[in-house]
Symmetry: C2
Subunit: 165 residues, 2 copies
DNA sequence: TGCAGAATTGGACACGTGTCCACCACAGGT
DNA sequence: ACCTGTGGTGGACACGTGTCCAATTCTGCA
C-alpha cells in the first residue's frame, strides 16, 4: 500500500515492494506471479476480511443493498490510486488473478443474496453486480469522486430494487 | 484486429502491428503512444462509426435503452479477446486514452439521452451507463458469454427504466 | 547438537517497452 | 529542375519484466 501510494500503479513494481519488505525479488515472485496478482490479492484480503452485516429486515431492501455495495466499493475507493490499481489488476489475464476474480464475484453475490433474498428478483442482483463494477471503474479512472460514490450507488439501487431508495 | 485475434491482447505489440501494416515501429509510435492507445482507438472508431438510431417513441423506453446499450456493447463483445482488450486498454493511465474514455462516455450519454429524454430520470441514465461498463467487463473476463449479453442488458434496463421490459 | 527439507537469495537471462535522433524519400509549389 | 518541409525510417538506448538455478540460510524435529 505504501509503495502504491508513493509510486502510483504505473510505477509499482514487484521488485520495489519486495525491497520495501526487506525481501529478495525472487522471493516475492514465489508468492505473487505479477504485480496484478499482488494488487488483486490486496483487494481480496480487504474485501474478505470485512465482517458480514446482519440483515435487518425492517430496513428497506434498497437500503440493505446499498450497504453491501458500499462496503464493497469503499474498501478501495477512498484512494483513487488504489481503486485504479484494483480495477486494472483484476482484469489481468493471469490464472491466479482469474481465481481471485471468481472468488470476489462469489463473495459479492453471496452478500447480496443474503441481504436481499426474497425481496428482489435474481435479475436485480445481477444488475446490482454490474452497477458496482461500473462504479468502481469510474472511481478508478477518476471520473467519479469518492464522495459521490455512495449516493450514486444508492440512486441506482433505488431504481433496481423496487423499494423506496 | 488480425494481430489481436492471432496473438491475443497479451501478445499484441505495437511493433507487430506496425510490421503487419508494412510500416516501421517508429512510425506507429508517431500515431499511437502505446498499445492501449491503439486498441482504445479501434474501439472508439467502431463505436463512433455506428449510425444513430432514430428514436421511435411507440416502443417502450426500456426497449429503446436496450438498443443503445446493445449497439454499444456488441461492437466489441462478439469476440471475447477484443472485449478484453478494449476494457483493459480503456483503463490505461495515458492522456490519449483518457481523452478517448471521456469521448466514449460522452457519446454513450448522448445516445441514451436522445433515446430516453423525458422518459427516464437522470439517475436511470447514470445507472444504465454503469451497467454497460459492468457488462462489458464481464464479457472481457469471460464470465459472461456473448450470447447472454443482450438478455442481461435487457433485464437490467427493464428494472432501471420503469416501463415494461 | 545435528540433520533433512524447505525457504530464501543473488545474479544472470531473454524479451518487450517506449523514446530519441540523425537521416532519407518524396510530393507540391515555384 | 530545384528546393523545402513533412512524414517515414533504422537503429540504438535505458529500463522493467518474469524466469531460472545453484548456492545459501533458516526451521522444526530427533
Amino acid at each position: 500500500m505504501d509503495e502504491l501510494r508513493e509510486a502510483g500503479y504505473q510505477g509499482l513494481s514487484v521488485r520495489a515492494v519486495a525491497a520495501r519488505s526487506g525481501v529478495a525479488p525472487a522471493t516475492a515472485y514465489n508468492y505473487f506471479s505479477s504485480k496484478e496478482h499482488l494488487v488483486a490479492e490486496v483487494f481480496w484480503r480487504r474485501i474478505s476480511q470485512q465482517d458480514d452485516r446482519s440483515v435487518d429486515r425492517r430496513r428497506s431492501p434498497a437500503t440493505r443493498a446499498v450497504d453491501v455495495l458500499a462496503d464493497f466499493a469503499l474498501v478501495v475507493a477512498n484512494e483513487t490510486e488504489l481503486a485504479a490499481a484494483c480495477t486494472v489488476a483484476l482484469l489481468a489475464d493471469d490464472p491466479e488473478v482469474h481465481e481471485l476474480r471468481v472468488e470476489i464475484g462469489r463473495l459479492l453475490h453471496t452478500r447480496l443474496l443474503s441481504a436481499l433474498d426474497g425481496d428482489a428478483p435474481h435479475a436485480a442482483i445481477r444488475a446490482l453486480e454490474l452497477v458496482v463494477s461500473g462504479a468502481l471503474i469510474e472511481v478508478g479512472t477518476g471520473h467519479l469522486a469518492y464522495g459521490d460514490l455512495r449516493d450514486l450507488l444508492a440512486e441506482s439501487a433505488g431504481l433496481i430494487v423496487g423499494g423506496a431508495a
